[in-house]
Symmetry: C2
Subunit: 281 residues, 2 copies
């Protein structure tokens, strides 16, 4: 596995890979790998000749009061995990490499970025879309793999790729969960023992909602109410949003007649967690 | 010369050209070709194996009160001129091909888009940056040729390419003028006989300013005042802006100690014309 830290070298390498006719896949990450990341790497390994994993804690997708400074990092461990998973290139640029002097360009995917996490985290998806476009241009992958845990992010990226005619196939991969159902997240490391127990309420609320909808409940307000009640019954929780809507456009849905995405963001202690499920009535 | 109207076919063609190892150059245009456009095609012909010219009157770079509907068009003549200049591919998409259902992504180059034409035409450079990124992704050129007449546009595009790590070389080409000095523009066709005479004041004002600066005048306010006075002495003129500033950052300059760009936008009758010159003290 080769570790590349300069944009120039990564660009030259991806050009060589293209010229050599290799099929490449990118897994963009912010590091501190868990099984979720590793499953994306496995998927990439399956689909491509050469697997590139980027590790970059992207400052422009964090708000001023968010956890950029404390975001968990362990590069040595990440390198060893990636190597074990058969990754060919790890691209680990510095913020200075990515955002040089005079940097001033941004990409906005307007409607899809508005609600949900976009409402709670202004500018977040602008930062995500911009860095992903940069990573695509630097690494030139045929395919890029994103997890469904960041459901809104996945839609934003797919829309950007379509709207800007980017020549890359976006492949989504299911949420990977702990044995007890908690969606894997680098931020789970922030949770205390007590908080970790309350964090399970996100997944159990989704299961509850799924059961209600499958049993014929088609009023999204009633389902959302039950979700809130269930989560709030757990200590240390504070709901950011409970969203039920169209899984393609993220328009809210009142009467559930077609598949919906149920997306949650909940503070558990001071840690903001997200989870989601697509549910078929 | 091959005429391509679908994004899908152009994408497939540019991929084939890349795979065949051809060096390609793109000349993005809005059509109604004059010698300025043709000189860009000649430059492209000189630098590349295959020349792609795009012809697209891009709706999203026009303001609601601007001349999108009346912008001059003559596709038949354009095709014949391009063919004579040895162009290999003309890409002529419809607006529907470029901006399909649900389109919502835009690219903003913030500081450089603020002043000058960006101040007079809100959203203009967002529309330009977005369509140029799309054209780059669809045609995948090694090089792209832009005229210096749209000086601010050139800086915006160069900045976008650098900031987003786009793998394309931006090549700029000098302003092409009529024998009497008027900068070539598709919009010159709007001018009446009388307006055409007044339109010459843009170029003569630039020559006057150049002479002042070369003779030691280093106060940009005095130079700008002389430019305004000169232009306003011509009938049917209304100044939009007279700008003197740094040719890289477009920061205004008070004391002229280094090269400056002098950029003008002037309404002559109802036609908005621009011109510029880089002047060395």
């Amino acid at each position: 596995m080769k570790v590349i830290r300069s944009v120039k070298e990564m660009t030259a390498t991806s050009r060589e890979l293209r010229n050599a006719g290799k099929i490449t896949a990118l897994v963009p990450t912010m590091g501190y790998f868990h099984e979720g990341h590793l499953s994306l790497m496995d998927k990439a390994r399956e689909l491509a000749d050469k697997v590139i994993v980027s590790l970059f804690v992207n400052p422009i997708q964090f708000g001023p009061t968010e956890d950029l400074a404390t975001y968990p990092r362990d590069e040595k461990r990440d390198l060893s995990l990636a190597q074990m998973r058969g990754v060919d290139y790890m691209f680990i640029p510095t913020a200075g490499e990515m955002y040089g002097s005079g940097f001033q360009t941004s990409i906005e995917v307007s409607q899809l970025s508005k609600g949900l996490c976009g409402a709670s985290r202004p500018g977040h998806f602008r930062g995500v879309a911009t860095v992903v476009a940069k990573l695509f241009n630097i690494t030139r992958p045929h395919k890029a793999i994103f997890g469904q845990k960041d459901f809104q992010q996945l839609l934003v990226i797919k829309r950007m790729v379509k709207d800007l005619n980017m020549d890359v196939e976006i492949i989504s991969h299911p949420i990977v969960r702990e044995p007890d159902g908690l969606a894997m997240s680098s931020r789970n490391t922030y949770l205390s023992f007590e908080e970790r127990k309350s964090a399970l309420s996100l997944h159990s609320a989704l299961k509850l909602a799924e059961h209600m909808i499958e049993s014929g409940q088609n009023n999204s307000g009633i389902v959302a109410g039950k979700i809130e009640e269930h989560i709030e019954a757990h200590p240390h929780t504070k709901i950011d949003y409970v969203f039920i809507g169209d899984p393609d456009t993220l328009e809210p849905v009142n009467e559930i007649k077609a598949p919906v995405v149920i997306a949650l963001a909940v503070f558990v202690g001071s840690t903001r967690l997200i989870d989601n499920a697509v549910v078929y009535p």
